[in-house]
Every structure is written in C-alpha cells, then in structure tokens.
C-alpha cells in the first residue's frame, strides 16, 4: 500500500527493538547496579513504546482499523517503570550497594523524616 508508511513502520520497529536490545545489553555490560538500572528503565521502556507505535500503525496498515489500545500499554509502562526503578534503588541502597552522599541539610539538623538507612547488609 503505502510504501512510505511501510518504511516508517519498519524503522520504528527496528529502532524500538534496538532500544530494547540496548537496554538489556546495558544489563550485561555495565559494571554496577545503579548504572545497569538506567538501561531497562528507559531504553527498554522507550523501545517498547516505539514497537507499540509500530503496532498501531501496522494493524491500521493491514486493515484492522485504527486501534489505539496499544497506547494503554505504553501508558501503563510509563506509570509503573518509575515505581519499579524507585523501589529497586531503595533496595540497593538498603543493602549498601552504594552509599548515598550526605544530605545537603545534614549539618543543619533539619531532618525530621526518615534517616537514610546507612546500615550495610
């Protein structure tokens, strides 16, 4: 049908899966947890987003009509990925994979909330 659309979709697909691959590659390649955390939480998320976009276009292209449902997948991923990343960092800090820097207001004693848990595992 529309060759341009087809090439666009193909590109989106390749870019998307490229990001997915790079995100996972980061897991393998990078040397510490916090560096690895960056790959999947965004490269992969974005990659999936691209693939979903391609999927919307593809299903429209093959004549299934324009379904925007895939947006929801992206939406949910965007909502949930930060939660995962946040909790995983908390866990990593908890078991002492890395030390936090001191809080900027640590000397002023203005800490009323939770003390950062410095205890190593």
């Amino acid at each position: 049908m529309n060759a341009a659309l087809e090439y666009l979709l193909a590109a989106l697909l390749l870019i998307g899966s490229g990001f997915v691959l790079v995100g996972s590659l980061g897991l393998v390649k990078l040397s510490d947890f916090f560096k690895r955390l960056h790959g999947p939480t965004k490269a992969t998320t974005l990659g999936v987003g691209c693939i979903l976009l391609a999927s919307i276009g593809y299903h429209a292209w093959i004549g299934d009509g324009l379904g925007l449902r895939e947006i929801l997948v992206t939406l949910f991923l965007f909502i949930t990925a930060p939660v995962s990343a946040h909790l995983m960092s908390l866990a990593a800090l908890k078991i002492g994979l890395q030390r936090r820097p001191p809080r900027p207001d640590a000397e002023t004693g203005g800490v009323s909330g939770r003390e950062p848990d410095e205890a190593g595992h």
Binding site: G18, F19, V22, G23, L25, G26, K29, L30, S31, D32, F34, K35, L37, H38, G39, T41, K42, A43, T45, L46, G65, G67, L68, R69, I71, L72, F78, I79, A81, P82, A85, H86, S89, L90, A92, L93, Q98, R100, P101, R103, P104, D105, G110, V111, S112, G113, R114, P116
Partner: protein, 161 residues
C-alpha cells in the same frame, strides 16, 4: 457533584481507558464506561492515602511534550553510552531539594526523572524535602539539579500547587 465525582481527571482517565479498550463507541459501551468512570475512582478514593488538589491542568500539555522529547533525545544518549566504553562514565548521586509539596507533583517529578534517561530517582526523604537522584553520567551536580528544577519542577508547581 463532588461526592459523585471524587476525582474528575481519574474519571476521565477511566472513561478514556474503557473506550480505548473496547474500541467501540456505541451507547451501550459509553454507558458502561460512564458507570465505571463514576464508580471506580470513588472506590479507589476510599484508599486514597492523601488528597491533593490540581492547579493549572493546561500546563500538562506543555510538560508532556517536553518530557516526550527529552525522553527521545536522552535515550539516544544513554544508548550511545551503553554501547560505548564504560570507563568514560562518571555516575553519581545528587540530592535535589524540592520546592513541590503536593504529593502528586513530587510523584510526577520523580517519575519524569526516572523516565528521562540518565537519571533515576532513587529515594525520597521522609520529610519530602529532598529527592535522591542517581545520574548515569554526572558531570556537574549543581547544573544537573538546576536543569531538573527548571525544566520540570517549575511546570509541575503550576499543575500541582
């Protein structure tokens, strides 16, 4: 109306979600969607840990556009870094002092920080005054803090006063 519609944005989200899911705009589905849109936020509202109000929702559009663009750009950056040699990376933590007090705003900021490449929000202090952020490639901590505050927090303060 307030009792019926505990959270209009959430209700709208539910309705949209429903219509997208069923991909059918018939009156029947619309009716079910509306029922759910009224019912579910109310149900969820019973669990709402803390209420916070919305401000200028129009700024949401600007923010969305900015975030999406940043995501795209810096994803490419992260991908390059992952593929490139690791030793040039200088990762590190920074504390971001928060001016936002609205919990939705803080959540949104933390999420955006995580979703935009190069940064992950790692911890929120109990008093909600600081957000610990891990940067993939931290060169100038102060500049990083300033950038985040300028690009996102200012807009968020408008949306979630």
């Amino acid at each position: 109306m307030r009792r019926l519609l505990t959270s209009p944005p959430l209700s709208l989200a539910v309705l949209l979600l429903w219509l997208l899911l069923v991909a059918d705009f018939s009156p029947g589905q619309l009716a079910i969607g509306i029922i759910l849109a009224l019912l579910l936020p109310w149900l969820a509202g019973m669990l709402e840990p803390e209420r916070a109000s919305f401000g200028r929702t129009i700024a949401l559009l600007a923010l969305t556009r900015r975030v999406l663009w940043d995501m795209l750009l810096s994803n490419i950056e992260v991908a390059r870094r992952i593929l490139g040699p690791e030793r040039v990376l200088t990762p590190g933590f920074v504390w971001i002092p928060l001016e936002l007090t609205n919990i939705h705003g803080i959540t949104a900021l933390a999420s955006i920080i995580t979703l935009t490449p190069g940064t992950v929000s790692a911890e929120l202090t109990g008093d909600r005054r600081f957000l610990l952020v891990h940067c993939f490639n931290l060169k100038d901590a102060d500049a990083q803090v300033a950038e985040i505050k300028a690009r996102y927090e200012s807009l968020l303060k408008e949306i979630f006063p």
